[in-house]
Amino acid sequence: MLDAKRLTILTESAKYDVSCSSSGSSRSSRGGIGNTYAAGICHSFTQDGRCISLLKILLSNQCVYDCLYCVNRRSNDVPRATATPDEICQLVMEFYKRNYIEGLFLSSAVFKNADYTMELLLETVVRLRKLYGFRGYIHLKGIPGADSLLLNRAAHYADRMSFNIELPSEKSLKLLAPQKSKKAILAPMGAMAEEYKIARQEKNKAVLPAGQTTQMIVGASSETDGQIIRLSQALYDRYSLKRVYYSSYVPANNQTSLLPTTPVGLLREHRLYQADWLLRFYGFSAEEIIGSEQNLDPALDPKCAWALRNMGLFPVEVNTAPPEVLLRVPGIGFKSASKICHARRFSKLDFDDLKKMRVVLKRAMHFITCGGKFYGQESLPAVRTLLTLNEMPNTMEQLSMFSSPDINLSVLGGEL
């Protein structure tokens, strides 16, 4: 059985992977124990506000690689530990039966070589499924460079697999993770996407029911938000990824002049996720959201920023606009759009009706008309100011003699 000491080491080494979700797969417990739930279930939340859904753990943190940003890099002086496949399986089963977790997120440092590592990961997953009859969620990290036969086999046992891109460009990879290359990461991703496509055509739902994801570290290298969002769009289109995760760089290692020494603000990560949501759910394209050499505006959410650049398309009439147009109005999301579309079948809606329906109008009011009437601000600069102020309520406080505005801003940016 895995002891507390090794559990601690293997958890500490795994925690920087931001992927957490247990969604996208729906399977019954037939013939085993456990099932999966399409929407995913969060089981707890830690003090950093992140959810715990899966037992996120490494099989080993003994790595032959020496990536500068990574806490487990070979040249780092951190405690090392390795678990056996069976120890992981036991822990998963015991935690799962107590309803602590939704399943397993298994990853590993590369020890000895990629194939050897992948073999052990595969052995763990197969053992968990076959010997323990586990039918809960399994997210397995693929080891880039491992034999494609191993990877393809793993896809038949895991719900979701991911290969982490880590850095958004080949140049940054060369600089910060010299042993990794863009090709070595993208090739298995492409092969998996192909496997996934074929399985779907054959109506075989057992292969990666929850698809693939990836993760990028933001702020460790010099790419702009525009480049990152374009890369994400390409990944969604070409590799039919389910999700791209963004992880603000947290300095985990001794300083090197190639990396920033302070954590990158959480605000940037937040804006990237907002833009990502626009790509996946709101029908936006990367080109609409941001220019390729630009960064997202920290003061405005990307949908607001887009609307302000395209004031010609607004205001839209809430009583007649199609749902996909309503979704493009800043401040109106899926819930509000759905409420509006339902309610307007009964009768015309005016501004007070929207309020009664608890649609948040703070931002939306500048972009809609209700029965032809407009309730927002006419002038663009005025709207921009109002929206910017709405976005940053925390910084708007009365100045006292001792307060320093710089500190407040850095709190917002997550730098403290």
Binding site: S29, G34, C42, H43, Q47, R50, Y100, V250, K356
Partner: protein
């Protein structure tokens, strides 16, 4: 002001609707709790008659379909003091209009019903994650919950299908309800007795491993307890292992 007092059940509301239509009056309040009457207040006790309830139910199905019934009475699980009045008003309006009006959200009753139901569904979803089983000495799994709404019947089937052949008890401490699963079927009973739970010898070890995991998976540079509080409100934590005091602290670095 007219007040109807009914039991907090489907039959109660259905009979209240019948009373309202036969008397050609609309009550201002429908309630199951003790109502402090003001002096211009007429309080009527609604009597349950199964035949009448069936008649009104048929009428409701005719007006709004089966989905109307399930939307209306889903809300009975709520802890909202106005739930009976809200369910009654929505049903009344649908019967008058002979139409399913629940998505006419500009009507305050409809949006109230929508929000009551969302709160119930959200809490049920949350507890599917936040509920914690403990292994007892006889091998039966035991979980304590104290939800705001009466959602035990919404979550128990989830655990039954997740853990086939396992025997478990889910205990709602607020309502003194115990839902039992013998591996095949579910049964909920009311009990005022305290349950004496004798834990399995392994239990302590796994609870402490889970606490270890929980403590170490946090990224300290990202400390954000406010976000934690919104996602996992404090009232749920008293039944969760990871928020219980640490038994033996691990000296390790």
């Amino acid at each position: 002001m007219i007040v109807y007092k009914t039991p907090p059940t489907k039959q109660g509301i259905l009979c209240a609707l019948f009373e309202s239509f036969t008397q050609k009056e609309v009550p201002n309040v429908v309630t199951s709790s003790d109502f402090q009457p003001t002096f211009d207040c007429v309080v009527k006790d609604i009597k349950i008659d199964q035949k009448i309830a069936d008649r009104v139910e048929k009428g409701l199905i005719k007006s709004g379909g089966i989905s109307l019934l399930s939307t209306l009475f889903y809300a009975l699980r709520s802890n909202d003091g106005l739930k009976e009045t809200t369910i009654f008003s929505v049903a009344h309006k649908c019967l008058v209009a002979r139409k399913n009006l629940v998505t006419n959200y500009k009507d305050p009753d409809m949006i109230n019903l929508y929000e009551i139901n969302s709160r119930i569904a959200n809490e049920a979803h949350r507890l599917k994650g936040f509920l914690r089983f403990e292994k007892t000495a006889p091998g039966v799994w035991y979980a304590r919950i104290s939800p705001d709404n009466d959602i035990i019947d919404l979550i128990a089937p989830h655990f039954k299908s997740r853990f086939p052949n396992e025997r478990f008890l889910i205990h709602d401490l607020k309502r003194n309800l115990v839902c039992m699963c013998d591996g095949r079927s579910l049964k909920t009973i009311k009990t005022d007795q305290a349950l004496l739970v004798c834990l399995h010898q392994d239990e302590h070890n796994f609870q402490s491993l889970w606490q270890t995991y929980f403590d170490h998976v946090t990224i300290k540079e990202r400390f954000n307890p406010k976000l934690q509080d919104t996602s996992l409100p404090k009232r749920y934590r008293k039944n969760m292992v990871e928020f219980a005091p640490r038994q033996d602290t691990l000296e390790f670095n």
